[in-house]
């Protein structure tokens, strides 16, 4: 043993580890006592009875389990996602599997059984076995915490509720199975003692890591991995950074020129025809915005909508069961996909060269208001009337003609808006 110690686990990381360990232990011990009367009973009867009486009844035991569970999960999630010291990202990075890990899984069993002197492939901060356990705990904690919350706050019964319980228990079982190996390695095996000590003192012997974690030693051999100010909030910064990069890449994509208007028109017409064929109705849009308004106002002042002569009838159907809601969602998705393919996602404002951004937004708002009123008078917008004009409806042809007349007239009088 050399005298040189390297920093392996900063204090915050050790706190999380032991906090996790203590919480797991408490939750396992109480959990085993909770699953007594269902078909899953694991613990012996006397244990269940003892724990139940210790906590003062099954209900209070369950509450203890749930509230401690929420505390455990809540603190873990917040600290992990916020990543104030940059340890989350470090942890995630250390879990990434490498080619050497694969080899480790091949060599390690042979070394344990036949020949302890077999050379092991170089390992990073954690060896492949530790990585596997880390991944199981990370994913398992997420699943256990999420299913636990759903079981508590969800509706409970039904096949969904029962499968949640099953997933909760199976995941716990999986984590416990890995935990036994982890515990055996760290606590019982003498040559792994430095690894255990690194989780107690935070430091690890340089000679030990040179042998067991050669890759990590090559990189951090002089002082280990102390906390670095530059790594603060690393995980959220990294996530936001990649989102920003993606958005900017999409925004700066080179837009494709428009294709033939006739081809686009034929596609549009076939979509309308598909509407006739499938559901006896072409697509529309404005009806959705009427409902959206009604439901929004109803959220604030239900009486106002219920007593309104125009809106009172629409609250009968949920917004999510109104077909135009889904049509408009479809339009949004279809439009987004097309724009994405064509590199036409661009953040900003379309305006004529003679008006300012503020006037443009004011025009958009007032134009929207006028169009909103117009759709109510005309019983639909251009999408709806385009469909019905294709079915030779007199009113729809009248509407379309009027739209063009109104548009040409306004453009003639107010040329500057879109010059």
């Amino acid at each position: 043993m050399s005298e040189r110690a390297l920093v392996k686990h900063p204090l915050q990381q050790r706190i999380v580890h032991w906090y996790n360990a203590a919480s797991f232990l408490f939750l396992w011990l109480t959990g085993i006592a909770i699953i007594s009367n269902s078909g899953y009973q694991i613990g012996p009867r006397f244990y269940i009875d003892t724990v139940n009486s210790l906590f003062g009844g099954a209900t209070r035991l369950l509450h203890f389990h749930v509230y401690v569970g929420m505390l455990w999960f809540g603190v873990l999630v917040v600290s992990f996602l916020l990543d104030p010291h940059g340890l989350s990202l470090r942890f995630l990075r250390d879990l990434v599997p490498t080619r050497n890990d694969l080899m480790w899984f091949k060599v390690k069993p042979k070394a344990e059984i036949f020949d302890p002197s077999l050379p092991m492939p170089d390992q990073g901060a954690y060896n492949a076995g530790q990585k596997a356990f880390g991944a199981v705990v990370l994913i398992g904690s997420t699943v256990i915490g999420t299913t636990g919350l759903l079981m508590w706050f969800g509706t409970g019964g039904g096949s969904l509720g029962r499968s949640l319980v099953l997933i909760h228990l199976i995941t716990v079982g999986l984590v416990i199975a890995f935990f036994f190996v982890h515990f055996a390695m760290a606590a019982l095996m003498k040559e792994e003692r430095p690894a255990l000590m690194s989780m107690v003192t935070g430091n690890v012997d340089a000679e030990y890591v040179e042998h067991h974690h050669a890759e990590w030693y090559r990189e951090h051999g002089d002082e280990g991995e102390p906390l670095r100010p530059a790594e603060r909030f690393a995980l959220p910064r990294k996530v936001l950074g990649s989102v920003k990069r993606l958005v900017l890449r999409v925004h700066h994509a080179k837009p494709q020129p428009l294709g033939s208007p006739y081809l686009a028109g034929i596609g549009l017409g076939l979509s309308v025809l598909a509407g006739f064929v499938l559901m006896g109705h072409g697509p529309g849009a404005s009806g959705f915005f009427s409902r959206l308004g009604a439901f929004t106002v109803a959220r604030v002042a239900p009486d106002q909508v219920a007593s309104n002569a125009y809106w009172s009838s629409v609250l009968g159907t949920k917004l999510s069961e109104y077909w135009l809601t889904w049509t408009v969602l479809g339009i949004a998705v279809g439009g987004f996909v097309s724009a994405l393919i064509a590199g036409r996602i661009k953040f900003g404002i379309d305006r004529g060269s003679l008006i300012s951004r503020h006037s443009r937004l004011l025009f958009a708002l007032s134009g929207g208001i006028v169009v909103g009123v117009a759709t109510r008078l005309a019983r639909g917008c251009t999408s709806h009337h385009l469909s019905e004009a294709a079915l030779l409806s007199a009113g729809s042809w009248l509407f379309l003609a009027a739209v063009f007349i109104g548009g040409f007239g306004t453009a003639f009088a107010f040329k500057k808006v879109w010059r």
Binding site: L258, L268, W311, G368, I369, G372, H384, A390, L398
Partner: protein, 458 residues
């Protein structure tokens, strides 16, 4: 005629399948809106300053495609156009609404569907426009509930007698479709004049150089292809439409409707006995919760109805707006049965002008309307008259729709029908009876007070 489309006709209910279809159709629609460049307010409004007619090209190509497609599917006998949802025509609201829409379209830069596409493209003005739509509709709802309740607005917004006015389902609709297609393609040929005359000025032109003269561009290969395709489809449409069957006129027996001359035109009619057969068999169909094969519109007043009773009719009493009310009722019937091919018999005291005009108008709209030959006098003589002798086919036709195997004697049947029609029946004949009911239950006369109905949609 067995049609397969529409797969799931619109009926106001929204099963999950319907919602999925709505989303899929919406997605295709949104995709092609964006393909056309409709996610940009600049592109959309450039048609109004006459600079770029892409919007016009796309819109009318889409319209023609959907129209020709629908007509072709109908001509092949695959689609029942009567099952498609059709909006009522409200002349003044739609004219004014359209003009206002045009104004808002130009200032706002969008229509609702295109604003959604532009919004997901990341354009802030589209989000503001959508907010404006919701605010505008909210304002309209407030107005409608307040000042809009005044009769002047209501009679403007929902005028009495407004009806579906459409060539949809008309026997000559295919001809209109071909005509519109030709007109649209022809109009495309001349758009270049505007586009060159109002093109964005080059720096040289801004400096005072005159615009070059308008030159007709050569038709590209795609233009030729589109015109050729349209012509081929028009020929197919014409061939199939001319050869297509006329709507079947339902006949219980072998009697064919006799024609009655009106102002030199022939109006198809039905004799009283056939009508009795239809009404009884339809009463049975309704009791078995199957849609009726026909409808009867009774235009007589209360006195005449009491004198010559008749069951199973929809009553539209005379008075102001009777004609409009009848059209509105018809609108309802066609929506509920969604089948214009089903006969609609118009009954009046004699062959009144109202009845004759109604039948003529309805037939022009593609409805299989018939007149009761001889009016209620014929009904009194052949159906209610004790001396009348009925042919056998009436019993066969009526009994054919029941589950009972007992076929009655003619005299018995005649008595039963007569007493049911006059409303004096107590016991239901076994061959007409439905388990658990005491009396021929439905299709009793429905009296309609006024027209109207229908709601905002789209």
């Amino acid at each position: 005629m067995s049609t397969i489309f529409p797969i799931l006709p619109f009926d106001g209910s929204s099963p999950t399948t319907y919602l999925v279809m709505a989303a899929v159709v919406g997605a295709a629609f949104g995709f092609f809106l964006e393909r056309a460049g409709f996610g940009s307010a600049k592109k959309l409004t450039s048609v109004f300053i006459l600079r770029d007619w892409g919007v016009y090209r796309v819109m009318f190509t889409a319209l023609v495609t959907a129209m020709v497609g629908a007509q072709l599917l109908s001509a092949f006998g695959w689609m029942d156009l009567g099952l498609l949802e059709m909006g009522t025509t409200y002349f003044w609201p739609m004219l004014l609404g359209g003009l206002l829409f045009g104004v808002g379209f130009y200032f706002g830069g969008f229509c609702p569907g295109t604003a959604v596409v532009s919004a997901v493209r990341g354009r802030l003005d589209a989000w503001v426009f959508l907010l404006g739509i919701v605010l505008g509709i909210y304002g309209f709802a407030l107005f409608f509930d307040g000042a809009g309740q005044a009769s002047w607005f209501q009679s403007f917004y929902e005028p009495a007698g407004a009806a579906v006015q459409s060539l949809n389902g008309h026997p000559l609709a295919w001809l209109a479709a071909i005509g519109i297609t030709g007109g649209v393609i022809l109009s495309f040929r001349y758009l270049y004049i505007f586009e060159q005359r109002f093109a964005l000025k080059t720096p040289e032109q801004l400096a005072g150089e005159p615009r070059p003269p308008v030159v007709r561009p050569h038709a590209g290969r795609s233009t030729k292809a589109v015109v050729g395709l349209a012509a081929a489809l028009a020929i197919v449409l014409a061939v199939f439409s001319v050869g297509a069957d006329e709507p079947d006129i339902l006949a219980v027996g072998s009697e064919l409707p006799a024609a009655v001359a009106v102002d030199g035109a022939q109006v198809p009619s039905i004799d009283a006995l056939s009508l009795a057969g239809w009404i009884v068999s339809d009463a049975n169909r309704i009791a078995e919760e199957t849609p009726p094969n026909s409808h009867v519109l009774d235009l007589r007043d209360e006195q005449d109805r009491a004198a010559v009773p008749m069951q199973g009719t929809v009553v539209v009493p005379p008075g102001d707006g009777q004609y409009e009310a009848a059209l509105a009722v018809l609108d309802d019937l066609l929506i509920t049965t969604a089948d214009k091919n089903k006969p609609l018999v118009v009954v009046d005291k004699d062959q009144s002008a109202t009845a004759l005009n109604l039948v003529t108008d309805l037939r022009l709209q593609g409805v299989n309307a018939l007149l009761l030959n001889g009016g209620d006098a014929a009904w009194q003589a052949s159906v209610l008259g004790v001396d009348a002798t009925w042919p056998e086919w009436i019993v066969a036709g009526a009994a054919g729709t029941t589950t009972s195997s007992t076929v009655p004697s003619m005299a018995d049947y005649q008595d039963r029908v007569r007493s049911w029609m006059t409303g004096t029946t107590v016991v239901v004949p076994a061959y007409l009876s439905i388990p658990g009911t005491e009396q021929l239950p439905s299709k009793a006369a429905t009296v309609v007070a006024t027209g109207g109905g229908g709601g905002g949609c789209g």
